[in-house]
Amino acid sequence: MTVTAGLDVGSSTLKIAIWDGDAQEGEVLTTHAERLRRRDVKAVIPGAYQAALASAGLGEDDVEYIATTGEGDLVEFRRGHFYSMTAHARGGVHLVPEARAVLDVGALHGKAIKMDGRGKVLTYRMTSQCASGSGQFVENISRYLGVALDEVGPLSRSADDPETCSNICAVLAETDVINMVSRGISIPNILKGIHLSMAGRLVKLLKASRSDGIVVMTGGLAQDDGLVAAISEIVQDQELPFEVRPHPQSIHAGAIGAAIFGAFRHEVLAARTARA
């Protein structure tokens, strides 16, 4: 058995997973998340890593391979690096073994990744350079509306007459939202409108990547059940051949995937050393 760590350095959150097992099977010993916004990322990482180790009851020497994903360059003590879609695909399959695609929605980008049963990436699509409708955007809007992030989902689900938000630009959309409030549109209807427009974009990615079957949603926005519901609605309306499912550990999918691939590389390297 190998103990490995995966660190997913996102643009808003740092996620850490500790894995105990090999490249095929094993278990996640612990996961840890830490906000990065407005903090000195390089300073946060070591502390967070220590915290994760502590909660798994491990010491630094117990970990045999440290893999990163996301902005891995910021982790000076890493051994290897995997690109985020690689990691999310593997992590996604670990969380929901029957999934054949991942929808990863984080603070800035949305990605649809089609994969096989082993977590091998087949195709993918990513949102473009323009940050229209990202996690950051939901965060800003929710602050503006005075709604806590974990209230966003439930509120959105209580909408009765969602107001469509057509603006492609997140900034202008923010003003649109202000405009809506001033027109007396209720907060649930505004949130749902935003969720629907984001969901439309994300579903488009899924379609473009030709995903089908079970799609596991990963990244921070998997926790937003309003968005998940909006995606499901669109999927149903358009009778699309997939079903999107979040998982309680979704936000950690990247870190988990990186840790598992870390185990794989560790084995490869160990075998190489043994041969030598």
């Binding site: 690689t86 082993r118 091998k120």
Partner: protein
């Protein structure tokens, strides 16, 4: 510094020099010299050369040029290239040009020829309309008169007619250039760690501003030097880049692809260097040689009508096979209609052939390379992690 590093530094200096000092210097070396600019894709550089002039490739402004007035001429949904060209025109960086040729590539370049006419009435402007009908007595006949007109015009500017002999000589020089560039591409495909794409790119770019004779020497030298270098081979994937034939990605983007684990083993940068897969020179009238080469051997690209159904993408697939590539990266400039309209047809074809691909858009001043790195990296990860499984 190694020989290769020297050559590459020289090329990089030429690449970054938006003042085109090398071209200006060439003009000043002798009185009465002329320089003629041309936009990406293909123009008959042989004719410019035969007129004793320097053909200068205008490939945009790259990511170092600040666009101040250029944006005043183009809406946000138009690709980036024309605004940097206009910026260069208005800043005077192109004032050494005595004329400019606009290849028939898309509506943007086409309209840019008219804008140039209005903004630089002092210069010679020619829209090089190439035939989309490849029958010798229709397209060929038309093209011959077009080329003859260009020959007459340039002869007029030079103050002496362009002779057939001169043209023949120029064609030979450019044939040599094309051979060398082909060799460069072959070497890169064989040993991509010794001949990295960022260098191949820069060496090609130098050909946009150097006289062909000098460029031939440069490519030869680079080829020899690169073989001598000792650089480690990496566990990278092999990809073909398609769609970047006009507006150029920033050099950092090309480097990002390499850093993310992709060896580019073929591409469509600067097609003007590789438009013809064989020599153009043949006995007889040199204009006929150009016309025939154009009708019969022009490289498949989105600006060229494909007269036969069912053949879209075949060249690309063939290229992947020949280069033993793992897949294709479709990289097109944002808002580039020719590349983006072509893409679905190509994707369909390569998918049918079982070739994996990925796609993204860029502009010449793309600063956000992170999404591109992620996509290219994931592509190479999947080759690296799964090739043995």
């Amino acid at each position: 510094m190694s020989r290769v590093a020297d050559i590459v530094t020289t090329c990089e200096e030429l690449y970054e020099d938006l003042e085109f000092s090398a071209c200006r210097a060439w003009k000043e070396e002798a009185p009465g010299r002329h320089a003629i600019g041309y936009l990406p894709m293909w123009v008959p550089r042989e004719i410019i050369h035969a007129a004793g002039m320097l053909p200068v490739g205008i490939l945009g402004g790259g990511d170092k040029l600040e666009i101040i007035r250029g944006d005043a001429f183009f809406q946000s949904y138009i690709c980036h290239l024309p605004r940097s060209v206009i910026e260069l025109v208005l800043k005077g960086n192109l004032d050494f040009l005595d004329g400019c040729l606009f290849p028939s590539i898309c509506d943007i370049v086409r309209n840019l020829s008219g804008m140039w006419q209005l903004l630089r009435p002092d210069t010679y402007v020619r829209y090089v309309d190439v035939p989309q009908n490849f029958e010798p007595d229709r397209g060929g006949r038309f093209f011959r008169t077009e080329l003859r007109k260009l020959i007459d015009d340039l002869g007029g500017i030079a103050g002496r007619p362009v002779t057939d002999d001169a043209l023949k000589h120029s064609i030979e020089l450019y044939d040599e250039n094309r051979r060398l560039i082909r060799e460069l591409y072959d070497r890169r495909s064989a040993v991509p760690w010794l001949v990295p794409t960022s260098e191949v790119y820069l060496v090609q770019r130098a050909g946009m501003v150097l006289p062909v004779e000098a460029h031939n020497d440069l490519v030869r030298e680079y080829l020899a030097a690169a073989e001598m270098d000792d650089r480690p081979e990496r566990d990278n994937s092999r990809v073909v880049v398609s769609g970047a034939f006009c507006e150029q990605p920033p050099l950092d983007l090309i480097r990002t692809l390499e850093r993310a684990g992709c060896y580019v083993v073929d591409d469509d940068f600067m097609l003007v260097n590789r438009w013809f897969a064989q020599d153009v020179a043949r006995p007889g009238d040199p204009v006929d040689a150009l016309v025939t080469a154009f009708l019969e051997q022009g490289i498949a690209n989105p600006a060229r009508y494909e007269p036969h159904a069912g053949t879209k993408g075949q060249d690309l697939i063939e290229c992947v096979r020949r280069r033993d590539a793992d897949g294709i990266i479709f990289a097109a400039p944002s808002f580039c209609d020719p590349a983006l309209l072509e893409r679905p047809m190509l994707q369909k074809a390569v998918e049918a052939a079982g070739i994996p691909s990925t796609a993204f858009k860029y502009s010449e001043n793309t600063g956000q390379l992170q999404p591109i790195r992620e996509q290219a990296g994931t592509f190479s990860d999947s080759v690296k992690l799964w090739s043995s499984v």
